[in-house]
Structures are given as structure tokens and as C-alpha cells.
């Protein structure tokens, strides 16, 4: 795997094909936990962690279990089970061995099971035919893209408390529209390319 290949996957996952703002994956946690900067950062970090692990394990399950047995049609079921048990396992592991991290990230972990960015990254890895290293790189950088988007969005939302807007737009609608404006800014990256 060449360095430029990895660089172009990373750049793609963080900016050009940002999971939230371009591919619309993982909107629920993006909207749900972006009211405060620190919780947003926590969620972002947890997502990077789980997405990296999920890419790894799902690749192994697909390559050594599903493909040899001709069970590719069970992909969705297998991946979601892998992700659900992974999240459960990470939660137990953190609780036991790194309690400080558990108190910081713990509450976000169960939410991640139903984060479509995580299942999305596993499915996209298979669809794009990435090898092990490429899958992990895509998983980690996809998570970094998520962190970037949610941190940007949280800082916008914190300022929004003092903004004046029509009452009907209170809460979610105005958040959606500001997310749209960030998405618009991210479109500027769409021409970016590394050879």
C-alpha cells in the first residue's frame, strides 16, 4: 500500500466524502450530542475508536468467514452483530480497566451501536473492496471526519443560543439549517484530489 494511496483515502474520508456532511451517515448522534463542545468531542473520539475496531473486525469476519462459506448475503446481519458485541465489549473493558475513560465516553457507547456511520463504514469497506490496511485507514479517518464535523457544528450551536431567529425554527430546524451551511462549505473540497 503506497503512501499516496493512504493519503488519498484519508483526505477523501475526512474532507471530500465526509461521512456526515456529504454522505449523510451518522446524522442522529451528530444532531443529538452536539449541543455542548465537550460532549461533542467525547462522542467524536468514541466514534473514531469504534469505527477503527469495526472496520478491522468486519473485514476479518467478511474475509475469513462469510466469503469462504459463500454467505455474503448475511453481511448486514453479521456486521451489526459484530458492532453490537464490539460496543458491549469495549464498554465492559473500559469500565474495568480504564474507569476514567469510561466515565468520559461511557454514555456515548450504547448510542454508537445505532450510529449508521459505523455500519456504513463496514459496508463501504466491503463495497469498495479495500484490503485490511485500507479498511482500517478508512475507518479511522472516517471517524476523524466525524469528529471534525461534530466539533465544528457544536461550536456553531453554542453561539446560536444568543442568536435571534424565528420562533418556529427553535431547536432542531435551525440546527439543521446551520448544519446545511457547514455542508455547503464542505462542498468546496469536492474537487480536491491527490495523485
Amino acid at each position: 500500500m503506497s503512501f499516496t494511496g493512504i493519503l488519498s483515502i484519508s483526505l477523501g474520508a475526512i474532507l471530500v466524502e465526509n461521512f456526515i456532511l456529504v454522505q449523510f451517515l451518522g446524522i442522529c448522534p451528530f444532531m443529538g450530542v452536539s449541543k455542548k463542545m465537550d460532549t461533542a468531542t467525547g462522542m467524536g473520539l468514541a466514534v473514531i475508536f469504534v469505527m477503527a475496531l469495526a472496520s478491522m473486525f468486519c473485514w476479518v469476519v467478511n474475509e475469513f468467514l462469510l466469503v469462504p462459506l459463500g454467505l455474503e448475503y448475511m453481511q448486514t446481519l453479521a456486521y451489526i452483530l459484530v458492532i453490537a458485541s464490539l460496543v458491549q465489549f469495549v464498554e465492559m473493558f473500559l469500565q474495568k480497566f480504564i474507569p476514567s475513560l469510561y466515565t468520559a465516553l461511557g454514555i456515548y457507547l450504547p448510542l454508537i451501536t445505532t450510529n449508521c456511520a459505523v455500519l456504513g463504514v463496514a459496508l463501504l469497506n466491503t463495497q469498495k473492496g479495500y484490503n485490511f490496511i485500507e479498511s482500517v485507514v478508512y475507518g479511522v479517518t472516517g471517524g476523524v471526519g466525524f469528529l471534525l464535523a461534530i466539533v465544528l457544528f457544536a461550536s456553531v450551536r453554542e453561539r446560536m443560543e444568543f442568536a435571534d431567529y424565528p420562533k418556529a425554527f427553535e431547536g432542531f430546524p435551525i440546527a439543521l439549517i446551520s448544519a446545511g451551511l457547514i455542508a455547503l462549505a464542505f462542498m468546496g473540497f469536492s474537487g480536491l484530489k491527490i495523485w
Binding site: I27, C116, L119, A168, F172, P173, I177, L184
Partner: protein, 213 residues
């Protein structure tokens, strides 16, 4: 069982997208042509109804500790079945929705309804809940599609009418392509939710005034 109340809840007062704010990924991602919206909406409707029925049937058998895992397995099963059927019989839909069909597994509407409704109610009521919530979702998708497709490309019924091209209402070059892009998804959904909030609040105020009188 209160059919009328459930119908009203699914479509308006407890609409899964506009009021409960569930399943927003697919709502914004695929609503670019009427064909996509209808296809996605109906797929979710079928999956949601089947899952609700099965989970309501099993609600006394599944221990609460592993309920989420059990629900996820049931949901993933139905999603894969529907995915395979779509691939076999409506390949055009399968290629235009792409990864968003398997992603119905993590569509929070389905897990949300399983947890909030089907795990506590009878099979009949859960089936109805699935149908009405699914209808509510489909209606929102269709509204989003019609708005985005019209403003973005000047067409109506893309993918279905007029041999797939849709009926051209005004020339395509005058369309705001922005509406088809992610930004258009955020904007349209934001405005729709704002409208519903405004309408619901108005209805509430009216009720209050009547009570005060």
C-alpha cells in the same frame, strides 16, 4: 386499540421524522427523486410492520437484558430479506438506493418503535403502529422528494413518470442544483420541521384559548 388515534399520531402528532426526529440520515440522503422516496418509504413501512409484529409476539419471551441485541437481529434479518427481494425484482431501486437499504438496520425509527411500542403492546396494535408510522415516514420522504426534485431539477416524478425522466415543469438549467446536494436536504428538512412546530403550537394555543373561554 384506537385506530384513529394511532393513525393521527403516525402521520402528524407523533410523526417519526418531523416530531420524533428519528431516521434522519435516509430522509435527507435519498430524497432526490420521487422513485427513491417511494421505494425507501415502502421498504421501511414493510420492514417496520414485520419487525413490530415479530417483536410484539416475542415480547414475553425475550429477557429485557438482551432485548436490544435480539431486536437488532430480527431487524437485520428482515432488512436483508427485503434487500434481496429488491435486488431480485426491482434492481433499478437497488442500484439507486445503494448502501442505504442495508443501513435501514440502524434506522432509529425501527429500533425506536420496537423499544417504545412493540415491546409493550399487543400484536394487532403493533402491526397498526408499524403501518401508520411507516406511512408517516413515507409521506415525509415523498414531500421532501417532490420539493427537492422540483426546485433542483424542475421535474416531478423522476424515476417513475415519463419513462424515468420525470415530467419537466420548467427547464432543467433554471433549477437550483443546490437543492439536490446535501445542503438542500438539510434546508428542506429544517423548514419542514419548523413548519410542523409552528402548526402544532398554533393548534395547541387554540385549544388553550378555548379552554380558557
Amino acid at each position: 386499540m384506537n385506530v384513529k388515534k394511532q393513525f393521527k399520531e403516525g402521520l402528524i402528532t407523533q410523526n417519526p421524522v418531523l416530531v420524533q426526529l428519528l431516521g434522519m440520515c435516509s430522509t435527507m440522503a435519498i430524497t432526490t427523486t420521487l422513485f427513491n422516496g417511494l421505494g425507501m418509504g415502502l421498504s421501511v413501512l414493510i420492514i417496520l410492520t414485520c419487525c413490530n409484529i415479530v417483536i410484539a409476539l416475542l415480547r414475553k419471551v425475550i429477557p429485557s437484558k438482551i432485548r436490544i441485541a435480539a431486536y437488532v437481529v430480527v431487524i437485520a434479518g428482515f432488512v436483508t430479506i427485503v434487500d434481496l427481494i429488491i435486488q431480485a425484482f426491482v434492481p433499478a431501486l437497488s442500484s439507486s438506493l445503494g448502501v442505504f437499504i442495508p443501513l435501514i438496520v440502524v434506522n432509529c425509527i425501527i429500533l425506536g418503535r420496537a423499544e417504545a411500542f412493540a415491546s409493550k403492546n399487543s400484536v394487532g396494535a403493533s402491526a397498526l403502529d408499524g403501518i401508520f408510522q411507516g406511512l408517516g415516514y413515507t409521506v415525509v420522504l415523498v414531500i421532501m422528494c417532490v420539493i427537492r426534485e422540483f426546485l433542483g431539477k424542475g421535474t416531478f416524478g423522476g424515476g417513475i413518470l415519463n419513462g424515468g425522466a420525470g415530467i419537466q415543469i420548467f427547464p432543467e438549467e433554471y433549477g437550483a442544483l443546490l437543492m439536490i446536494l446535501p445542503f438542500g436536504g438539510f434546508l428542506t428538512l429544517g423548514c419542514l420541521i419548523a413548519f410542523v412546530q409552528w402548526a402544532l403550537r398554533r393548534a395547541e394555543n387554540k385549544k388553550k384559548e378555548e379552554v380558557e373561554k
